[in-house]
């Protein structure tokens, strides 16, 4: 088993009520789990998962996770 630390942002936060903004929560996954597995485990709608950063680097859903990874997940957002 591996443990990754996840932060959810913007509208994705409603899937984890009570969490402080920017607060990471631990998630246990099987060895060799991917970001897609994480998204399914958290029951996030895949079309609402647009931007993912693993350890400050942009990543796609097929990325394999390792123990201790820090994951930040955003829905489609824009700005200026």
């Amino acid at each position: 088993m591996i443990t990754v630390y996840v932060k959810l942002f913007a509208t994705l936060r409603q899937h984890r009520p009570g969490l402080e903004i920017g607060e990471a929560f631990p998630v246990e996954l099987q060895d060799g789990a991917t970001l897609r597995d994480l998204v399914r485990c958290l029951k996030l709608p895949e079309d609402q998962v647009k931007l993912i950063f693993v350890n400050a680097l942009s990543a796609e859903l097929d990325r394999t996770l390792t123990d201790g990874d820090e994951v930040g997940i955003f829905p489609p957002v824009g700005g200026g």
């Binding site: 509208t11 950063f53 489609p76 824009g78 700005g79």
Partner: protein, 585 residues
């Protein structure tokens, strides 16, 4: 027949001229840059009599096109010494367009310094043309704009306002041109490049615009326009970022604080780090939740200008539930927050409110205060001292006069070498070492360090218009493409945020072009977008060159090449040849 309205502040007279044929297809930035190129001596002193201030709504402004109430303001910039276009959303642009005025050109300079005037611009129904009455503005000089705007509305009725605060009166490089928002607040800005100082140098404090009775915008082909408008509207309503209750409507631009922080590209404490430990406290989510706690309501964002369907502007509230300031944008929160080591929305809110009171560009103010912090005038994170300094700037105290001149000047005076500036204008909220494409835009763009002239963040971070690796160094084509497309969009009168939708939804982009054809009677296709953008940029570059700039000005500050930026520990390592390649094709 579209008109140019020429105001001469030397003798306070005005002329209404037919729009010359060469400008027939130009508006917004395309027109301000063409007029600056054609009429302003590139070697003139930006605060002298030979500079000109141009205000031009866009091609479709005032037509009912969605999210199109924007105005371009152009001149030779006192901050960069080159050409400048700054852009704002307000009720002022469509009102001006409804008079058939394609541009206001303010020229000359009063002989008496420190005398300020207002131009009361109304529609003369009998003569069938605009009319200006010049009125003394002395009673409004030196005052907080929050106190002045209500007096102006009381005196003149339902009008729109363009003007300057004390910052423009003091001729600061940090001064912007302020416009009224939908609630009459002095809160919308053509912020960057010190254009408020140009207006102030001409003794013009306010343009009071009353468009009652004005004829409205003319269409060459209303049917074609409506077809295009519907396609664009559909794209805006569909895209996750621009749609109602979508990202921008819910969280505004400040949602980017957490994204850029995760990406390690949020400039912190005067560009010394790419991550700020207090980011979550000042991000868009914190604005939404803070407002919810303080007002008991889930507040969605509002429109800055008539006809905007994206509606991304927030209002921040005090603990007692009353309004503090509108609005706290990503750039403003970043500049006065993370970049200054300040992690409180109440502090950034007050600093932004003071920028609005005094007529200051929040970006340049934030980067200047951060340099002042690095230079030892105050500590990073000291919000109270920052607020004190802001008052000194707004009130023209000695240290304020220095800081009001901008980040480059403050750095020079204080001996600070970590100076995040290109062509004299300070960098906005994206760290170039961590996001190479936006760095290329900062370096090679005609405006100085400016993110709105080519928002490559869209593909580099947000996954809009494709996905590109933020660290990839081969980005000359990407930068050029964005610079060109943006110059076109800046001429249409649409807010640049339509790009989020139209870069992903092709029919939206087609709709934009069809709208323009419907107003101008042209037959443009998507292929013309790049061509028109190129033409505008060519004029801007020609002006800059004649003003003394060379490719050596398309470079990043030294400290970024030497200092690795945490958390990625990257430096600015793009070769000069790659930068020059942006313009060489």
């Amino acid at each position: 027949m579209a008109k140019l309205l020429r105001i001469d502040m030397t003798d306070r007279t005005y002329k209404i001229e037919d729009l010359p044929d060469k400008y027939r297809l130009l508006a917004g930035r395309g027109l301000t840059s063409s007029i600056v190129h054609d009429e302003v001596d590139p070697m003139c002193h930006p605060l002298g009599p030979k500079n000109k201030l141009i205000l031009a709504p866009g091609i479709v402004t005032g037509t009912g096109a969605p999210t199109s109430s924007r105005i371009s303001v152009g001149a030779k910039s006192p901050l960069t010494g080159g050409i400048k276009e700054a852009n704002a959303g307000s009720g002022f642009p469509p009102s001006l367009a409804s008079m058939g005025i394609r541009a206001i050109i303010v020229e000359g300079q009063p002989e008496e310094k420190d005398e300020f005037w207002m131009a009361h611009l109304t529609w003369d129904g009998e003569a069938g043309q605009p009319r200006i009455e010049f009125l003394p503005a002395d009673e409004y000089v030196g005052k907080d704009l929050h106190k002045v705007f209500p007096k102006l509305f009381k005196r003149f009725g339902k009008v729109n306002i363009a003007g300057i605060g004390t910052a423009g009166e003091y001729l600061y490089g940090d001064s912007g041109v302020v416009f009224d928002d939908m609630k009459g607040r002095p809160a919308r800005y053509a912020g960057r490049g010190g254009l408020g100082a140009v207006m102030g140098s001409k003794g013009l404090k306010f343009i009071i615009l009353d468009s009652k009775g004005a004829p409205g915008v003319e269409f060459a082909d209303k049917e074609a326009f409506d077809k295009g408008r519907k396609k664009l509207t559909k794209a805006l309503m569909e895209h996750d970022i621009t749609k109602p209750k979508g990202a921008l409507n819910t969280y505004g631009t400040a949602v980017l604080i957490n994204i850029m922080n995760e990406a390690g590209g949020l400039p912190t404490r005067n560009f010394s780090n790419g991550r700020f430990e207090g980011a979550a406290k000042i991000a868009g989510e914190a604005v939404f939740e803070g407002n919810k706690e303080r007002t008991g309501k889930e507040l969605y964002n509002h429109a800055c200008s008539p006809g905007c369907i994206i509606q991304c502007s927030n209002t921040w509230h005090k603990p007692d539930g009353t309004e503090h300031v509108s609005c706290q944008e990503y750039e403003s929160i970043w500049a006065l927050g993370a970049n200054c080591g300040i992690d409180s929305l109440d502090a950034t809110g007050e600093l932004i409110r003071l920028c609005n009171a005094y007529g200051l560009d929040t970006i340049e103010m934030g980067t200047t205060i951060a340099v002042a912090m690095e230079g030892g005038l105050l500590e990073f994170g000291d919000a109270d001292k920052a607020i004190e300094l802001m008052h000194k700037i707004g009130k023209g105290k000695a240290v304020g006069r220095i800081l009001g001149s901008g980040t480059a000047t403050a750095a020079r005076v204080l001996g600070v070498t970590r100076v995040p500036v290109v062509k004299g204008q300070s960098m906005p909220a994206y760290e170039p070492r961590a996001v190479k494409g936006i760095g290329m835009v900062y370096a090679t763009g005609t405006m100085g360090a400016d993110h709105t002239q080519g928002y490559t963040i869209a593909p580099e971070i947000l996954g809009v218009s494709g996905k590109v690796d933020q660290f990839d160094r081969d980005k000359a084509d990407l930068a050029r493409g964005f610079l060109e497309a943006t110059a076109f969009i800046d001429s249409t009168g649409h807010c640049l945020f339509i790009a989020f939708a139209i870069l992903d939804i092709a029919s939206g982009f087609e709709g934009l072009v069809e709208e323009c054809n419907g107003v101008l009677g042209t037959n443009w296709t998507l292929d013309d977008v790049g061509r028109i953008g190129k033409e505008i940029l060519a004029k801007e570059r020609a002006f800059n060159e004649a003003a003394g700039m060379t490719n050596l000005d398309d470079r990043m500050p030294e400290f970024m090449k030497l200092e690795p930026l945490p958390p990625h520990n990257v430096t600015w390592d793009i070769p000069d040849e790659t930068l020059d390649a942006v313009w060489e094709s």
